[in-house]
């Protein structure tokens, strides 16, 4: 077992190295605002169809309603998730996962690691799966899911998905009580930086904007635009007149779905969506996700014959 990691970034680096050694492609974060690592097309889209897949990546995630101006010890509106998706789920997926914990300094011999029932469902993605939240000494350190359905399609083969909440996990491993106090780089570095040095100011700014300042009329318009554009992209004929090739534009359409989802989250934080409307908005995003999933399985990456 390696020494204990000393910083937030070292935990991330160790996870990257570990999953790379287990054969995963180490991808980079998706360059859009998302609510969770699951939204990355490397998970949502790649869980569909028959092609095999193995990827791991860090995904910055945003949940505007969770903003606390950087004051709360563990609530943030912007945070990082570490995401692993392997399709088909390997028979020793649980052991592989436990190996990753050991790599970041959670030794199974000293701790009480438990798999506690927690079924995962994403109403916005039309997706669900069965699995657990993984507890280490009573604390949830990861979400472990076998995807059963995405975008309304039955998954076949089944993907195994892991999501690590990086801040919380790192605070536990590093023994830190307030996220802002957590060392971001090596505390012995010439210029040691804490998580707070990097993010405190941004958390404060975004909390104010998310809750009170974001222009709701414009956001509502953005939602409508993204929704319309997503549909327009998918409605375009598959055959491209310029290249003479069949090009279904799933990824550009899916970007619009992601955008709609994030705008909805912002509107929710601004408190302008009533309880009844909420369901309707979620349903509209889900319809986009489904349409993208329907389109993806028509493509090569989605397992359709070339």
């Amino acid at each position: 077992m390696a020494d204990k990691p000393r910083s937030f970034q070292e935990i991330i680096l160790r996870l990257q190295t570990y999953w790379a050694s287990k054969g995963c492609a180490i991808l980079q974060p998706y360059d859009m605002e998302v609510g969770a690592g699951t939204f990355h097309p490397a998970t949502t889209l790649r869980a569909l169809g028959s092609n095999h897949w193995a990827a791991a990546y860090v995904q910055p995630s945003r949940r505007p309603t969770d903003g606390r101006y950087g004051e709360n010890p563990n609530r943030l509106q912007h945070f990082y998730q570490y995401q692993v998706l392997i399709k088909p789920s390997p028979p020793d997926f649980q052991e592989l996962y436990l190996g990753s914990l050991s790599e970041i300094g959670i030794d199974a011999d000293k701790h009480d690691i438990r798999f506690v029932e927690d079924d995962w469902e994403s109403p916005t993605l039309g997706a669900w799966g069965l699995g657990w939240e993984v507890w280490c000494d009573g604390m949830e350190v990861s979400q472990f899911t076998y995807f059963q359905q995405v975008g309304g399609h039955d998954c076949k083969p089944i993907s195994g998905e892991l999501t690590y909440g990086l801040e919380r996990l790192a605070m536990y491993v590093l023994g830190v009580d307030h996220v802002m106090d957590m060392p971001f780089n090596d505390p012995q570095a010439p210029i040691p930086l804490s998580y707070g040095d990097v993010f405190q100011q941004a958390e404060r700014e975004y909390s104010r904007w998310n809750f009170d300042v974001a222009d709701t009329d414009k956001l509502l318009q953005h939602f409508l635009d993204a929704e319309a554009e997503c549909q327009r992209i998918l409605d375009a004929p598959a055959d491209d007149p310029k290249t003479g090739k069949k090009i279904i534009m799933v990824h550009p359409a899916y970007d619009q779905c992601i955008k709609a989802s994030h705008v909805f989250n912002l509107l929710d934080a601004r408190g302008v969506i009533s309880v009844t409307e909420r369901q309707a908005y979620i349903g509209r995003v889900r319809a986009l996700a489904k349409a993208c999933a329907d389109a993806f399985v028509q493509t090569e990456a989605g397992g359709a014959a070339a």
Binding site: N74, P88, K110, H111, D112, L130, D137, Y146
Partner: protein, 758 residues
């Protein structure tokens, strides 16, 4: 006789599903084996987080051969018929025998099923059981098609007898059976083989797995109470949590931890709920102070530091959770002390049901109703209304948002913090009761008033919008609400015009009936119904309903009982009353009172205006009368009186039908010829003199006894006197006499409803 051992080894099975799954495995496999012709002496099933196991002993080694003959079509029958027969019998054409029958030659199929060895049957039954297992939720994994609760890794299936142990060969989607299993995930993860159930259980224990859930639960409880006792503390008992925790561990290790002093000021229920819901901790109480001071967590792991790291981690997680709870509690207390106004205001934004308005609308209705009910239940009307107004305020609190199961209880704490009267605070907690048939019924008058008002508003509201329970579906728990009302009234002995109250409460919901509803049919049905209701009640309903509609829709039509929406509302209210009568019958049947006796007492009393009187509208009186009637009918006199009444009623009804008149008045003793006839006159006069005042005084047993005393004179009359005499004067007089019998009996209860032995 061989013994069978099966183990299905998988990734972690949700705790809540384990016990049921073990039962299902036992049932599926034993049923399958028996159906295939095997017998067994005993079977027991077990579960841990990672395995289901089944041990069957004394299994027969093979099934007996079976021979069956089936008669088929005649020789020369169409090919189609013969082919159908072959398919059904599962034999080939050349295997058919031709036999002589009375009507000619007929085909016979002789089906011989040879006996099969147990292993073959087990393999088939187990595969089928795995493939058809009734998990509440199941999943696929990897590239396979098999469904199980979580990925299934191995199947152990062995048959053992004196001669030795054999693996029963089978393969389910690539998972081949064997004789090996694994121990604890971290403490003893290597595979090992077993030869019998005893060997299996013993080796599992050596590999840090306690197979039996009840043994794990017992070990947890004993260890937890011992550790607590050593500190002079006690573990708060929680059966459900114990079962759940026993399903989360294969090797329970009990650790007792401290709760930071900062949090000891939280209400004990908050500590308990937070620890249980989030962390699956048991609460440990100091019996001297009644405070929750420590917790017990159950790990699945033994460590070199005896759990110190594990406990420290758990304590830290708990501290973070409780810091949240404390934050909620302190914020809530601040709002409560300032009078809860922000909570009450925010309830106007919370929809109760989209057709029934907001929580705030509902609270206003409940407050008005509680005020009206208050005097009948001995409560101060102002207090009752005040209690109703704050009883649901805690629904807006942060604590209840986080822990919905604390609703009511937090209301009490917050009402106390707001210095509201003790009766009001108690009502905040108690007005939800009774929730179940065994739940305690509140007795404090203010609590009773609010509890009744809350339930009556729920019932009348959902009835008005036609959301009543159907079959097994009762999403708004309306049967429970009705039962709650019945128990609140009866167990507190309340004197309350319940159905009238409910009917009137329905009027305030007429505004909720959709304006585009088709009123036609129900409204017409109501015209018939209206005749059975006192005119004042109908008029009051119309006025109240009109007010409600105006408030809701700004409608400007005159309020009359003829308006369709109002009639419609009355029809639904009447329907609710009959639903209520049905629930009452179910409730009383469980208490041993026959449904026809209840019917006889619910049925409108003869001569009462509109048929509604306290005797059938006041639940307490209704039940008292039913009990008295049941007691009377159980006596010899009562039973014979019933026969006499029925005979009188039959003769009278036939005569009335034949003559087309009603014999209801004018029996005169001067036309009485026989002594028996005269005696009946005298007896009826005597009974009249007793029954009417007794009924008035609600002394039902005196009234019933007086009625039963008519038995002798009625019997004597029928023995000696011919009703249908030749003389029309005598006949008419006697029929009118019979009608006095009928009237007297019906003034007590509607005996025509009693299912007799006649």
């Amino acid at each position: 006789m061989p013994d069978l051992l099966i183990e299905l080894f998988s990734e972690e099975i949700p705790a809540r599903m384990q016990t049921r799954a073990a039962d299902d495995l036992r049932k599926l496999v034993t049923d399958g084996l028996v159906e295939a012709g095997l017998t067994y002496a005993g079977a027991a099933a077990f579960s841990t987080p990672r395995r289901l196991a089944l041990s069957i002993d004394g299994l027969t080694a093979e099934s007996k051969p079976v021979r069956e003959e089936r008669k088929g079509p005649k020789v020369g029958a169409p090919d189609k018929a013969i082919e159908g027969f072959l398919r059904g019998a599962g034999v080939a054409r050349e295997d058919l025998e031709v036999r002589d029958d009375k009507k000619g030659q007929v085909y016979f199929a002789v089906i011989e099923k040879p006996g099969r060895i147990a292993a073959d049957i087990i393999a088939e039954v187990l595969e089928k059981s795995v493939r058809n297992f009734p998990w509440p939720k199941s999943m696929r994994w990897g590239t396979g098609n098999l469904k199980w609760v979580r990925p299934l890794h191995s199947i152990l299936c062995i048959l053992s007898d004196e001669a030795g142990t054999e693996v029963v060969p089978l393969d389910v989607d690539g998972i081949a059976s064997g004789n090996t299993t694994r121990g604890h995930r971290f403490l003893a993860s290597d595979a090992f083989s077993v030869v019998s159930f005893d060997d299996y259980e013993a080796k599992l224990k050596r590999a840090n797995v306690v197979l039996r859930a009840d043994e794990r639960a017992e070990a947890i409880w004993n260890e937890a109470t011992t550790q607590a006792f050593a500190l002079g503390l006690e573990v708060v008992e929680d059966r459900g949590l114990l079962t759940e925790v026993a399903g989360l561990v294969e090797w329970p290790v009990v650790l007792l931890g401290k709760i930071d002093d900062d949090f000891l000021g939280l209400p004990p229920e908050v500590l308990q709920t937070s620890m249980k819901e989030h962390q699956k901790f048991f609460s440990v109480r100091n019996p001297k102070t009644g405070r929750i001071e420590r917790f017990v967590t159950v790990a699945n792991m033994e460590t070199a530091d005896n759990g110190a790291t594990i406990l420290a981690g758990n304590q830290k997680v708990l501290a973070a959770r409780l810091a949240d709870a404390k934050f909620f509690w302190e914020n809530d207390l601040r709002v409560a002390k300032e009078g809860m106004e922000p909570w009450l205001d925010s309830l106007s934004n919370v929809t109760f049901h989209n057709k029934l308005g907001s929580q705030k609308d509902r609270i206003e209705r409940i407050a008005a109703l509680a005020r009206e009910i208050a005097l009948s239940v001995g409560a101060d009307p102002d207090l009752a209304a005040q209690a109703a107004r704050v009883a649901k305020a805690d629904l807006s609190s942060e604590m209840v948002y986080e822990f919905p199961e604390l609703q009511g209880l937090m209301g009490r704490y917050y009402a106390e913090a707001a210095d509201l009267p003790a009766d009001v605070a108690a009502a905040c907690e108690e007005h939800y009761s009774p929730l179940g048939p065994s739940d305690d019924v509140p007795t404090a008058p203010v609590s009773v008033a609010v509890a009744l008002a809350d339930k009556i508003d729920t019932l009348t509201g959902f009835w008005a919008i036609d959301e009543k329970p159907t079959g097994s579906k009762d999403p708004f728990a309306l049967r429970r609400a009705a039962l709650g009302v019945i128990r609140l009234v009866l167990e507190n002995g309340l004197t309350l015009r319940l159905f009238e109250r409910m009917f009137m409460a329905s009027a305030s919901h007429v505004g909720h009936i959709a304006a585009d509803e088709d009123f036609g049919e129900l409204a017409r049905a109501f015209d018939v119904l209206a005749e059975n209701l006192p005119a004042e009640l109908v008029a009051a309903f119309a006025e109240q309903a009109d007010k409600a509609v105006r408030e809701r829709r700004g409608l400007d039509e005159p309020a009359t009982k003829d308006r369709a929406d109002i009639k419609f509302g009355m029809a639904r209210a009447s329907d609710l009353v009959s639903f209520f009568h049905d629930r009452l019958k179910v409730f009383l049947r469980d208490k041993g009172i026959r449904h026809d006796i209840i019917d006889a007492c619910i049925s409108p009393i003869q001569g009462a205006p509109g048929g509604v009187t306290p005797a059938n509208d006041d639940l307490t009186l209704l039940v008292k009368r039913a009990e008295a009637l049941a007691a009377t009918l159980a006596t010899d006199d009562g039973e014979n009186l019933l026969q006499g009444f029925k005979r009188a009623n039959n003769i009278l009804s036939q005569a009335e039908e034949k003559d087309g008149v009603e014999y209801s008045y004018g029996a005169d003793i001067k036309f009485a010829e026989h002594d028996a006839e005269k005696a009946l006159f005298a007896a009826l006069d005597a009974a009249d003199a007793k029954i009417a005042p007794a009924m008035e005084a609600e002394d039902f047993s005196t009234a019933m006894t007086a009625m039963a005393a008519l038995r002798g004179p009625i019997d004597g009359f029928f023995t000696d006197v011919q009703v249908n005499a030749d003389s029309q004067v005598l006949r008419r007089n006697r029929l009118n006499l019979l009608s006095r019998i009928r009237n007297i009996c019906l003034s007590v209860a509607d005996l025509t409803k009693i299912e007799g032995t006649s």
